[in-house]
Symmetry: none
Subunit: 484 residues, 2 copies
């Protein structure tokens, strides 16, 4: 054992034996202990591969029963934080499932705690103030004042028929997808869409994701018992050449890689579809905000390329209208309609019927398309204000990626932030009332890209201009000595 290993081992033991448990607290001692151990693993005090003390010694040091230490260790083994090797002891796992554990809060999407108010540059938020509420209120009222008789029947498990027809028409016009309403099921959002998709695959099937990826999608599949593997994206996004053998499905974000933003080039899209055809399997296209492209038309969905024969398309209204709607949908190939029906079950999805007829009217009468086009103009201006501000105040510090799309600007770290940890940049922004989403927590297999997401869509131009000025001051103050 080297000195540095010795050091961290004794460091670790000191941290372990310093754990204080509260006998007066309502949580049982083993729950408290498991929580403290989990935190030590997550904050790196207990590095991968580190051996834990035997449960008997551990119990003595903490003055608790051996049953307590055993229960805590077993819990963390079950959760995947620790690994028990027969005869050798218990070790910190090499691969920490901190994104997958259902017992942990969804840390990655917000960091520590969600602020009460929305601060610039919170990511992934559309502009909620520009929503055409008056029209929306009229549609809600007219749908429910004298509801259509079908609204009083047993609800269709796939969702409100006219909404599904309207979505099919929208997909044709905006995403190049030809599909029938019968292939569409309304869900309470992408999370539930992925839960349903999971049931279309055999238990234990392997699904390959991009690294980085959208963690809730992956979590939904893992919680449903699928095995998820990741392969690092390159400058063009997902590389079909990296698909592993025995993969039963691939989840990609071809229109706008999540979270990095690049579009998957056509040859790779075709290669992916060819792979799915050769292997008689499916590609899942997660398409979350690509209606918002600020130069040219939105790129057609990958699903449009093969007539939807080999793709499941996942769409959502969270980023196009509002996350509060809790409405999304998925489109499956015709031959999978029965499977989807079995996955949904007779009770239907968790999507409320209340907004569905109003949303259907919204789509049918063109209000939705008008809203999208209007928001595209507004967002394009907001994006320009942000990128111009980044150029003015943070040139050489933050390097925005070029994609003219989405709700966020993705920034890598420039040479002047080379030696600065991502966390310092996020903390500096936080101190001046700004929210940055760090990029590196999204990465898992390869080396992480240092960077931040800056949401712009939710904030007006004055707020963005002032925010980026403040951000400039906060970040450039980070390394004054080195800049002289």
């Amino acid at each position: 054992m080297s000195n540095s290993q010795n050091f961290s081992q004794s460091n670790f033991q000191a941290a372990l034996f310093a754990i204080g448990l509260d006998r007066a607290a309502p949580e049982p001692l083993h729950v408290q202990l498991a929580a403290r151990l989990r935190a030590l693993v997550l904050d790196g005090t207990a590095p991968p591969g580190m051996r834990l003390p035997a449960s008997r010694q551990f119990a003595q040091e903490l003055s608790v029963s051996r049953a307590t230490t055993q229960a805590a260790l077993e819990q963390l083994v079950a959760e995947g934080y620790l690994v028990a090797r027969r005869g050798a002891g218990t070790f910190v796992a090499e691969h920490i499932p901190h994104l997958a554990s259902p017992l942990m809060p969804e840390r990655i999407e917000t960091g520590v705690a969600r602020p009460e108010t929305i601060r610039p540059f919170q990511h992934n938020l559309p502009d909620l103030a520009s929503f055409p509420y008056a029209q929306w209120a009229n549609y809600l009222a007219s749908a429910w004042r004298r509801p259509h008789p079908d609204l009083l029947k047993a609800p269709d498990p796939f969702g409100w028929g006219p909404l599904r027809q309207a979505i099919a028409a929208h997909l044709g016009a905006w995403r190049g997808i030809t599909c029938g309403a019968g292939q569409i099921a309304i869900t309470s959002g992408a999370r539930e869409a992925f839960e349903l998709i999971a049931r279309l695959f055999p238990a234990g099937a392997t699904i390959q994701f991009e690294d980085p990826c959208f963690p809730p999608a992956r979590r939904s599949l893992e919680m449903a018992g699928l095995r998820c593997i990741l392969s690092p994206v390159d400058e063009d996004g997902f590389d079909p050449a990296r698909i592993e053998p025995d993969v039963a499905g691939v989840v990609v974000t071809p229109s706008r890689q999540y979270p990095l933003g690049m579009a998957l080039p056509l040859p790779r899209r075709l290669e992916l579809l060819e792979w799915a055809k050769q292997n008689n399997t499916l590609v899942i296209e997660d398409d979350y905000d690509s209606e918002f492209r600020f130069s040219g038309q939105p790129l057609p969905a990958m699903t449009s390329l093969d007539g939807g024969e080999r793709t499941i398309y996942v769409g959502s209204f969270s980023k196009l209208l509002s996350p509060s709607l809790r409405l999304g949908y998925l489109v499956v190939p015709e031959r999978h309609i029965d499977g989807l029906s079995a996955a949904i079950g007779p009770v239907g999805s968790m999507a409320s019927l209340v907004p569905q007829p109003a949303l259907a009217s919204f789509l049918q009468d063109g209000t939705f398309a008008t809203h999208l086009r209007r928001m595209r103009r507004i967002y394009a201006r907001r994006r320009a204000v942000l990128t111009e501000g980044l150029q003015t105040y943070l040139d050489g510090w933050l390097v925005p990626r070029p994609e003219p799309s989405g709700l966020n600007v993705v920034c890598g770290f420039g040479p002047r932030l080379d030696a600065v940890p991502e966390g310092d940049v996020v903390a500096a922004a936080d101190r001046v009332g700004l929210t940055l989403q760090p990029l590196s927590p999204y990465f898992e297999t390869g080396p992480a890209m240092k960077g931040v997401l800056l949401g712009f869509a939710h904030f007006d131009e004055a707020t963005l201009a002032e925010g980026v000025r403040l951000l400039g001051r906060a970040i450039t103050a980070l390394a004054p000595a080195r800049r002289g």
Copy 2:
């Protein structure tokens, strides 16, 4: 240039110049043009490397503006179908792997399968026609026409605050429960409530259910990795003496055993709570329709007995108002609020925000309580019509259980159906257009009780009277020989 290249070039030009655009179509001309060009590339008419005509010439041939051809060509360059080489022109991209020519699926007009009509005596359905839609429509419209500023902020993961306050008040008045709004989280229904509850227990923990029980609750826990065991109920419902060692939680339906209907006697309730206290664990009270008791007041919830210290209460608006709302909630002891917060995550539950402010107004202004009282009167009469009909037409065949509550009448088989399989009774009803829910599929461990559920709440008195007359004819015809 070889002859064959010459040939395909001229072939290609002919195809290009034959492109017809529809000026009356809703899609702009450049979008139509891009779609036609894309198809020519994909079907091989425009082979890799082929040069496209200059945008000016192309525009002249098609009789469109140059801006139209330019926009279409730029779009396809962005998508990767075409490559622009400065000074040389625009070419079909070299690297398009061959994909089987995408079959433009003859437009799938599967349409949308019509929801099945609801037949008597489908179970668990409230009366959807008596819902006060006009008032509901007004509340929806006024909530969203000029939305409260908090509705435009990042939504509270626990749900809309005023709704949680209104639920706390309702629980105090109707269920005897004293709790704060902070202990309440809005969900998309009981299914999601149980998914969240699962995360309050360690992975692999054992939860004990009644047998028979509500299968979706059990499934939610099992899918989240908990172990569920069952113990048979007796005439009084769940027997706390049957709780197994190492059980981490118990799920019961004390107000109205699901599906049998009996109420859990007070001594057993107290015994259960004492067990939870002794073992420092929790009882989950699933309370789904007990506001509908037609004689006396609703029994107070078990949660009211211990101040909610040891109980998680699960409620839903599915049976009180409409399953289409997809709104339910759970109430946790104060010390579990943080745990629940971690389980819900920052994104919040799958419950749509759209109906929540309207439902809050509904509860606050007394419309909800008035509706419940009105429905209680209506349901009491409907139940009476059904039980009188059972007495008249099926005495000795179907034996209704006595509980004056709920949306369904639970019937055991009388002596005249002794030898008749449940399936024969269900099939006989089905042949005359009636839906019966058999009881035995709910049972798992012990001998199943033969019987059927008859929903009455959804159907008017005339329908019920005629339905039970028909049912009488259908069932009594099942064993004429033995009776002759």
